[in-house]
Every structure is written in C-alpha cells, then in structure tokens.
C-alpha cells in the first residue's frame, strides 16, 4: 500500500434534468502525479472537472482531495477556503479568465489575502513578485490590465493565480487549447517546470492527444459520460485497446496523415448508442 492519493474520485455521477452527463467515473491521482481525462465534446470530461473543483455538485459518488471529502457543497467560509488550498483550476479561455478590471498584482493579492491572512503587506508583495517570476511575467506585465496582454500572458496570470493558494492539485481544463502553437509550447514547458519545482499534481482535461502525451503520466479516456479506457499515457496512446481510442488517435493529423470517412463509421459500429 503506497501513499494516500492526493485526489480520489469514486462512482461519480451527474445528471442534468434527466440526462446523464457523467456516470460511474473512478480515478485517482498520486501525490505529484499527472492524469489526463481525454474525450470529445459531450464526453462529460468538463463536467468531471467542474465537480472536482466544486463548481457543480455530483448527483452521486465521492470526491476526496488531500484526504478530505468534497463531494457536497462547502457549508462554511472556512471550508471553502480550505478546499481552495486543495484544488485549483486554470480555464480554457484566457480572455475571460481574468477580471478585466484587475491587473495581475491585484488578482494575486486578493487570493493571498484570503489564504494567508497572517501575512503583512510586504510579505504579500514579495510573494506576488515570486509568483510573477515563476510564470515568467515581468513587473510591467504584472501591473497591466488584462486587455493589454496577449493570450499567452493572460494564461500565465491564470496559472499564477491557481498557484497562489499553493494547492495540491491543479485542474487544467483545456488550458492550452486556445493558444497558438508557439505560445502553447511555451506554456506547456512552463507547466512542466512548475510541476517539477512545486510537486503539484495535474488533472488535465483535453481533447488534444499531443498535449496529453507531453504533460501527463496517466490517461483515462471518456466517452458519453463513462470511462472506456485507462492506463499509462504512453501505453494508451501507443497501443489503444478500445476501437474508439484508436479512432481518436488516428484522427489526429500528423505528417503523412490522410483523413478517411471510415473512422466515424467504425466508432458508430464499435459502440452503438
């Protein structure tokens, strides 16, 4: 028996007005680990992320982070803050992820005041500067309104905000999907560095198998609300056991790739709805 996982999800289920969006989802992430949930739109992967982070309540199932249950909505302000120090999230859209009226320094300071109530102003300032350094933003960018910054820079602020509370797990909900490929590479490298330096765990929600391969150790594949395949990322992508996973992998354009119409037919045949 190894160390207690930093995040454990069992039997997770969510319905929206009778429609089952997520059903019977189990997974766990070891301390410092990195897990990907792969799927297409409608697979339920984002709903899982929202439930883990506490933005929507599960219909059934349990979520345990850092040994504490978070399956039900937080009741007290203290509980909310505690949960904030366990799991954080970086969203997809860099343009909507930041309050347009606040610069990076203000955004980070607000988080620090919440989670480090004992710190003085100078300690907070030092920590803000440290976080800025960590994600590679200079002093000018830290004081700029979001509208003056590029998508990549905004996403760095969002990452810094997620790190500010020193959580054990960061959910990356398609966090690099909206970025151009060169900026995406910068941010992916940054995420790898951060994990190495802080030991934080990642839960990556993505449809992009290249990104998944680059920054995760384990992968679960979701389809229509259920997990259909799981394993080490390298194995799952190199030797998919499920036809759907194979189709998913073969649909990714790469050098010498030819699109074919047969792919969809195969998936429909493989898993009738």
């Amino acid at each position: 028996m190894t160390e207690e996982p930093v995040l454990r999800v069992t039997g997770l289920r969510r319905e929206f007005g009778g429609v089952v969006a997520v059903d019977g989802v189990d997974f766990e992430i070891p301390r410092g680990g990195s897990l990907a949930i792969v799927g297409e739109s409608g697979s339920g992967k984002s709903t899982v992320a929202n439930m883990v982070v506490g933005l929507c309540a599960p219909t059934a199932g349990t979520i345990t982070a850092c040994g504490r249950d978070r399956s039900r909505p937080a009741r007290s302000a203290k509980e909310r803050r505690l949960r904030g120090r366990e799991v954080q999230i970086v969203f997809q859209d860099p343009y909507a992820s930041l309050d347009p009226r606040h610069c990076a320094e203000q955004t980070l300071d607000e988080v620090l005041r919440l989670h480090r109530a004992d710190d003085g102003k100078q300690q907070r300032q030092a920590r803000v500067a440290e976080l800025g350094d960590l994600v590679g933003l200079d002093a000018r960018q830290m004081r700029a309104r979001p509208r003056a910054l590029s998508g990549g820079q905004r996403q760095r602020i969002a990452i810094a905000r997620a790190l500010a509370a020193e959580p054990e797990v960061i959910i990356l909900d398609e966090s690099v999907a909206a970025l151009d490929v060169l900026v995406q590479a910068q941010v992916l490298n940054l995420l790898a560095d951060i994990r190495e330096r802080t030991g934080v765990s990642y839960l990556l929600i993505s449809h992009d198998l290249g990104v998944v391969r680059q920054i995760t150790d384990e992968t679960v594949v979701m389809r229509r609300g259920r997990i259909i395949e799981r394993g080490p990322t390298a194995d799952v992508l190199a030797h998919p056991r499920q036809p759907y996973t194979q189709v998913l992998r073969d649909s990714v354009p790469h050098a010498g790739w030819k699109p074919t119409r047969a792919l969809r037919a195969l998936t429909e045949g493989a898993q009738p709805s």
Binding site: E40, L182, G210, Q214, L248, L263
Partner: protein
C-alpha cells in the same frame, strides 16, 4: 503546373483598426492551378483569413488594397455588377463557424437551394431534389428530412457538412475554406476533411485551405504556404515542409507541436509572441524571435526567392537548409 485559376500578386491590404489604417497583408503572392489545393497556414493575426477575405471580396468596410488578385483574366479587386456576380458564382466559401454563416430563421432547404433558385432559375422541386442528393454526397442519408429542419436543430459537424454540400451544389471552380474544421471534434474533423478532399478531387475544384494546423494542411494540400506577420514566408510542397523546411519559422511551427507518439523533455519553444503585419519591425518580421537571426536580418525585408522548387523569404535560407532539416528531424 497548369494555368493558374487564381493568381495573387503582391497583395497589400490595409484595414481600419480603431479608425486608423493598419497594414495586415504585406506583398502576399500566391497562385493556384486548376484543380490544385493550396494550404495557407499561420497563427492568429498572421493574415491568413484576411487573404481569403480579400480573394472573396469580403474585406471589412474601409479596407484598402493594392497589388492584383487575378481570376479568369480580370482583377478581382475591380469587378462590378454582373462580372462580380459571375465571379461569386465560381467561388464558394466555407467558414469556421457554420452556425454564424447560415441564416438561423430559415430552413436548411431554403439555405441550400437559395442560390440555385435565385441565380440559376432551377425550380423548387428540382432544387430540393438536388439538395437532398448533395446531402447524400456528404454522408447525410435522410436529406429530405434535414431540408425541413432549422439550423439550430443540427450539430456543428452536421451543419458544416450541410454548408459544404450547399457550396458544391452550384459547381464552383474555386473553394475557399477558412478553418472549416477548427470548431469540430477531431473525429468529426477527420470525416469532414475526408469528404471535402474527396469531393474536391472528384470535381476538379481548386482549393485554398486556410488553417493553423500544418499537418492538416499537409494532408489535403499539394502545396502549403506559411504566413507570418502578414506575409508568406515560405511556399513549398506540403510533404517537404516537415522534412526540409526553408524558413526558420516553419521549422519552429513543426517542432513546437507536441507529438502524439512521444513526449520530449522540453518542447522547442521560441520566445516572444506572434505579431501582426503592422506591429512587425523593419527587416524580417520574424528576426526578433529567430534563433538564427544575424544583423542583416534586422535591416530590410527579405525578398521572396526560389529555393529547391519552393519560395522563401529568408536571406539565410540556403545556408540554414541542412540545420533546419536536422532540427525537425530531431523532433520527429
């Protein structure tokens, strides 16, 4: 190469940004042979969509152009009246977001048959029949039912196939596709691309395919042009872009993309961010980020030169050839 269907020569486009004219395309030249597919690849703000809009005569109000866009012996920029309508009949467009490009309050059937009935005088019944047949071509079996539906009742992938079927109904000679699959899931993308490619080859249409994905362009295009900061920095046979890129930016695009089949310790990420044409410095616009830049690169804009059957704007293209090939080989 055959006679070009479309020939763009030193196209410069200025558009109004907050009331000020800003250059978004700088001396863009490309040619497209009959039945040929050309990919136009670049990051956001590179000017790839603006190129398509200029060709389609859909530039935003207040835009100014110079250079020529030649189609059928005429400059598209100056077409008027009947000639413009004829041109529009020959050119079909498919955009990224099908939902925005189909009138939400009219039925699919109205959308599909509008051009046939209005411009080609086809009667209602025949037009509907042809529309249903076109839907079958793009893999939509129950066409007659679909014609009665409204756009909001169809999924994005289905609607994009409807748009493609519609565009093919009038038998255009040139298809402009601007990120037609970007909003779709990967498996749907593969299918839509397959349909597009198949039908295009069947009918001998020319295709200008705009995308941010080098590999996707490579899959369906004979040649690919790479854009950066409003200019085409390299045009080359698609297959060779991956093995033997001529421009450092192309090499950067190839190496920055994480691969499905293996992880690397660090991705080859070049610093900085991509700029638009009007933000670009003097000299080569890529020079500030280019790992191979020398002083001369910052002096003046490199001219387009032929190298190994491709066209490249880099003064060091010849000497860098082997090194760039190594960089991408190390990646692959």
């Amino acid at each position: 190469m055959t006679v070009p269907v479309l020939e763009v020569d030193r196209l410069v486009v200025d558009v109004l940004v907050e009331g000020e004219p800003r250059t978004v395309l700088h001396e863009v030249s490309l040619s497209l042979g009959e039945g040929e597919a050309l990919g136009l690849v670049g990051e956001s703000g590179s000017g790839k969509s603006m190129t398509a809009r200029a060709v389609a005569r859909l530039l935003p109000p207040g835009a100014r152009t110079s250079g020529t866009i030649r189609y059928g012996g005429h400059d598209v920029r100056t077409l008027k009246g009947g000639a413009l309508r004829d041109y529009r009949g020959d050119v079909a467009l498919v955009f990224q977001d099908p939902r925005a490009h189909v009138n939400p309050v009219r039925r699919i059937g109205d959308f599909m048959t509008e051009a046939l009935r209005t411009l080609h005088g086809v009667d209602k019944h025949t037009a509907a029949k042809r529309a249903a047949a076109a839907l079958a071509d793009v893999g939509i079996a129950d066409g007659e039912r679909r014609l009665e539906q409204y756009p909001h009742e169809l999924s994005g992938g289905l609607l994009q196939r409807v748009v493609i079927a519609t565009m093919l109904l009038t038998e255009p000679k040139l298809l402009l596709a601007d990120e037609p699959t970007t909003a779709l899931d990967v498996t749907t993308q593969a299918e839509v691309m397959a349909i597009l490619d198949e039908l295009r080859q069947e009918r001998g249409m020319a295709l200008l395919f705009i995308t941010h994905d080098l590999d996707l362009a490579g899959a369906v295009c004979d040649r690919t042009a790479v854009m950066y900061a409003g200019q085409i920095v390299e045009t080359r046979e698609s297959a060779k872009l991956h093995e033997d890129p001529l421009h450092p930016y192309t090499a950067a695009l190839v190496t920055a993309r994480p691969a499905v089949d293996r992880a690397v310790d660090r991705l080859a990420a070049i610093p900085g961010r991509s700029v638009s044409a009007f933000e670009a410095p003097d000299g080569c616009p890529f020079a500030p980020r280019c790992p191979h830049a020398v002083d001369a690169c910052h002096q003046e804009r490199p001219p387009a030169e032929y190298v190994d059957g491709g066209l490249v704007r880099c003064i060091r293209a010849d000497e860098l050839r082997g090194r760039l090939a190594e960089e991408v080989a190390f990646h692959d």
